[in-house]
């Protein structure tokens, strides 16, 4: 069952990731492919006993970030990127595909050298309780810094998107 789920989720994640970059008609389709990819990745996180990260993936990525993308695309009323031929030259496409393909092969070969079986983990592994306890004890400084970063990001976004800076 879990093996089947792994194949379903990973196929969905990879194919919809291809959909993100392969869609030249309108960025809306890319954003919707991105949602599918994020949700499939959340499924993979749950298979990896990382329920909390999977939950946050659905809420933050599929929920907030992609909605922000869609919001901006619709706000700017973008229709594709102009002429599709102007998207990119075939030679650039070929070079890009070669570089990405070669790097993937190299990565897979390196990863295959280090295959190890999974250890058994206790029931609490990756639950909200376990991650929350770690975040608010050992990593409390990181949480504080993340909060400051979010505040700075909000202020920066408001200032940057203002129509006229006084």
């Amino acid at each position: 069952m879990r093996t089947a789920l792994f194949w379903v989720f990973s196929a969905a994640a990879v194919l919809s990731a291809l959909g993100v970059i392969g869609n030249v008609r309108t960025p809306i389709n890319s954003a919707l492919s991105l949602v599918v990819s994020m949700l499939a990745l959340a499924g993979l996180y749950v298979l990896l006993e990382a329920q909390f990260v999977g939950l946050i993936q659905v809420m933050v990525y599929a929920g907030a970030i992609v909605v922000l993308f869609l919001f901006v695309i619709m706000l700017l009323n973008l229709r594709g990127s102009g002429a599709i031929g102007a998207e990119t030259q075939p030679i650039m496409k070929a070079i890009g595909a070669l570089v990405a393909g070669g790097a993937t092969l190299w990565l897979v070969r390196t990863l295959a050298a280090g295959r190890a079986p999974w250890p058994d983990v206790d029931d609490g592994f990756g639950t909200t309780r376990a991650i929350g306890e770690a975040l608010y004890t050992d990593y409390v400084l990181s949480v504080q810094v993340a909060g400051v970063l979010l505040l700075a990001g909000i202020v920066a976004a408001v200032v940057l998107a203002k129509k006229k800076i006084d």
């Binding site: 879990r2 093996t3 990973s10 990879v14 990731a17 993100v20 970059i21 869609n23 960025p27 890319s30 954003a31 990819s37 994020m38 990745l41 993979l44 298979l47 990896l48 990382a50 909390f52 990260v53 993936q57 990525y61 970030i65 922000l68 993308f69 901006v72 706000l75 700017l76 973008l78 594709g80 990127s81 102007a86 998207e87 990119t88 890009g96 570089v99 790097a103 993937t104 990565l107 990863l111 280090g114 295959r115 190890a116 079986p117 999974w118 250890p119 058994d120 983990v121 990756g126 991650i131 770690a134 993340a146 979010l150 990001g153 920066a156 976004a157 408001v158 940057l160 998107a161 129509k163």
Partner: protein, 102 residues
């Protein structure tokens, strides 16, 4: 989990990362390039969580969580930059925005 191990998850992460990198290399629409960067961040997260499962330690998941926080901030600021770019230049094609100064 049968025959699926950390290696399979790492291969999925590598594939998604390279699809994201390919997107940044071949696409010229700045919003799609930005989405490709998100794909790469997600692939790195999957790799972190998978290694965290492989060594039975939840530190990788905490790091993935913090990466998500940074990604959220990055999207907010990046999209604000894109909005002001489109307001000023009326284009999302990065070939039209090759100058540092207008």
């Amino acid at each position: 989990m049968g025959d699926v191990s950390g290696f399979h998850f790492q291969v999925v992460a590598a594939l998604i990362f390279m699809i994201g990198a390919l997107g940044v290399l071949v696409r010229r629409n700045i919003i799609v390039m930005f989405m490709s960067i998100e794909l790469m961040l997600n692939a790195a997260n999957l790799s972190l969580v998978s290694f965290s499962r492989e060594i039975g330690n939840d530190q990788g998941q905490i790091f993935a969580f913090l990466v998500m926080v940074v990604a959220a901030v990055e999207v907010a600021v990046g999209l604000a930059i894109i909005i002001s770019l489109v307001r000023n230049r009326d284009t999302v094609n990065i070939e039209d925005t090759s100058q540092m100064k207008w």
